[in-house]
């Protein structure tokens, strides 16, 4: 997948070791795991990607025309502690290479305890709920599943809302035509490339509600509100104010429709950012529209249209805070071929460009080393051509097979 590594940190030996330990443990425990096959699940996805960008591509990997490769392992495991009560974790190990430079990163993306009502009312009701606590899927963005290449009809992901996996507790469920989710999480959904990085940890509400008036049609709403700065920025805030006084507010609208061989996913967000020294909020809007059509059991096509107003909020030190927005459009179109239910190949073309939002503004003249300034000049006609081979595997099925 294209997006996650752009936020990756420098290689962290400790986290890599953790993941290697987990892998070694799983291999070493093969027989024990097989005997505990009803209580343990280990699955994963292996991705291999090749990208060719031009120098104007808005992609985070735009490598001045070099070929860019990515290899990624996503591994998740779940343990049935007791009926309805599960512990699970998702880890990622990725290595990228471009122009002779290689970078490896690993992260534990999710690690949580989940209680599910599945076992308590089995078969008697369509009502369902689960409660989970730990490092969880962010409830605000419905695009999280596209981080799994097997769920993503294309190779790139929507840039609509970058939502890191926060620590939190969530109640989610459905009953009849209604679904709901309510969570308290510790991190805002921000893209650290455009907003101050390392947001402070503080609990914020994150809620969502969905209606399914008929099978295949779902309309959803989501909302979250909370601080997005951090305490290190207090020194550059107006006297008497605290970083927690500046909120981010996001309203999300989800639309999903499918029938037969067609599938449409869409999301629209409005977001407001309170910016120090600014009288009003910085408001942005973004949406994506994604369509997939399956031609044959093996072939499908998809496209995604996206328009995002990216908030650019920066502490400039001795000058007032920057509060601007950068509008980025992108279109991705792709073809997919399934070799097997677990292995697929995708080919995708992505085109993007940015609207000009800076005139002779101070921030756009390069005085601050700003690489995002003057989007039109920097990224007039970006494109990328990408190939992705992905394979899903289920370790427990393999271990539970008699050979």
């Amino acid at each position: 997948m294209m997006n996650p590594p752009r936020h990756s940190k420098d290689p962290t030996i400790a986290s890599r070791r953790r993941l290697i330990w987990v892998l070694a443990l799983l291999c070493g425990m093969g027989n024990s795991l097989a005997m505990a096959g009803e209580q343990v699940l280990v699955e994963g996805i292996l991705d291999a990607e090749v990208h060719k960008f031009n120098e104007y591509s808005f992609s985070p990997f735009s490598s001045d025309g070099d070929i860019f490769t990515l290899g990624q392992l996503q591994l998740w495991s779940a343990w049935q502690i007791s009926p309805g009560f599960q512990a699970y974790a998702l880890g990622e190990l990725a290595t990228v290479e471009s122009g002779g430079n290689r970078k490896t990163d690993s992260q534990i993306q999710q690690a949580a305890l989940r209680y599910s009502s599945n076992s308590s009312n089995a078969g008697n009701s369509s009502a369902f709920y689960f409660i989970e606590a730990g490092k969880i899927r962010p409830p605000i963005a419905s695009t999280s599943e596209r981080r799994l290449s097997t769920q993503n009809p294309l190779i790139g992901q929507p840039n609509l809302l970058y939502a890191p996996y926060p620590l939190g507790i969530q109640l989610a469920g459905s009953s009849g035509w209604l679904d709901y989710r309510a969570a308290l999480v510790d991190l805002p959904p921000i893209d650290p490339e455009y907003l101050p990085s390392d947001p402070g940890s503080t609990l914020r509400p994150d809620v969502g509600l969905g209606l399914t008036p008929l099978t295949g049609l779902r309309l959803g709403l989501a909302y979250t509100k909370g601080p997005y700065l951090n305490k290190d920025l207090n020194v550059d805030l107006p006297p008497g104010s605290d970083w927690k006084d500046f909120d981010q507010r996001i309203w999300g609208f989800e639309f999903q429709f499918s029938r037969g061989y067609a599938e449409l996913n869409s999301e629209l967000i409005f977001a407001q950012y309170d910016v120090p020294f600014q009288s009003g909020s910085t408001d942005v809007m973004g949406y994506f529209l994604e369509f997939k059509y399956t031609f044959t059991p093996r072939f499908y096509c998809a496209f995604r249209l996206e328009r995002n107003e990216i908030p650019l909020v920066r502490d400039m030190g001795d000058v007032p805070w920057l509060a601007q927005k950068l509008t980025v459009h992108d279109v991705e179109i792709g073809l997919g071929y399934r070799f097997s239910p677990d292995t697929q190949l995708k080919l995708a073309f992505r085109h993007d460009y940015g609207d000009e939002v800076y005139g002779d503004g101070a921030y756009g003249d390069g005085a601050y080393g700003n690489e995002y300034a003057g989007a039109v000049e920097l990224y007039p006609l970006g494109y990328s051509l990408s190939l992705q081979l992905s394979h899903h595997f289920d370790l427990m099925s393999w271990l539970l097979t008699e050979r």
Binding site: G37, L41, R218, Y261
Partner: protein, 217 residues
């Protein structure tokens, strides 16, 4: 059906290893907005022996026997295919009714039969005719934890054990046959058996054939 003077019966118990007896836990990393509880009831037993198929390898005498009856079904209920294993005779049309209040998208990429039924709502059904013999793994595009198997055979002399592990194949023309015990996670187990007219042969089948202690009922 009782015994006739020209046919016989094979019956017995099926035993499987502890490894085969294990069932995978249900878990979805992304549960989705409307996940469903699993089905309960007689069609959805936890006994993995009910997913074993006992069948006779074809001979000219039994391949010619015609199968009859209604079109078998493989339902989608509680995000599960029911039954999980469906043995049929080649040429049979199988219905895939959706009984869940959500979409499913049944498909197979098997070389024996490849199909994609698209998404259809509760109460609707799609059908597939299986012309060739072989194993057809079936999946759902929307729910990666859903899987099933259609086992397409060339004769109607097959049986699936009940929850007690007992199987019974009746009205077999007298003769010597190869009987096969099949489970999706094991190599097929084959044994020779002679069927005498008007008689019932008891034959227990252990899958796989190992020195390990098989699963207790």
């Amino acid at each position: 059906m009782g015994l006739t003077t020209t046919t016989g019966t094979i019956h017995g118990e099926v035993l499987i290893s502890h490894k085969l007896a294990a069932q995978r836990m249900r878990f979805r990393l992304y549960p989705g907005f409307k996940p469903l509880p699993p089905p309960t009831g007689p069609e959805n037993t936890d006994d993995e022996r009910t997913n074993v198929v006992i069948y006779l390898k074809s001979t000219p005498a039994i391949t010619a026997v015609q199968a009859g009856g209604e079109a078998p079904q493989m339902k989608q209920v509680g995000e599960t295919f029911v039954p999980h294993v469906l043995p049929i005779v080649q040429g049979t049309t199988v219905d895939f009714p959706n009984q869940d209040p959500i979409f499913h998208n049944v498909f197979s990429l098997s070389g024996t039969k490849s199909f994609d039924l698209g998404r259809y709502p509760k109460g609707d059904s799609r059908s597939v005719t299986f012309e060739q013999t072989g194993i057809v793994p079936v999946f759902c595009h929307l729910h990666s934890n859903m899987s099933a198997i259609v086992l397409v055979l060339d004769n109607p002399f097959f049986s699936m054990p009940d929850v007690e592990g007992q199987y019974r194949i009746e009205n077999i023309p007298a003769g010597t046959y190869t009987i096969v015990g099949w489970h999706e996670r094991s190599e097929p187990v084959e044994q020779q058996v002679e069927v005498l007219a008007g008689q019932a042969v008891e034959l227990n089948i252990v899958i796989p054939i190992t020195d390990d202690e098989p699963s207790a009922p």
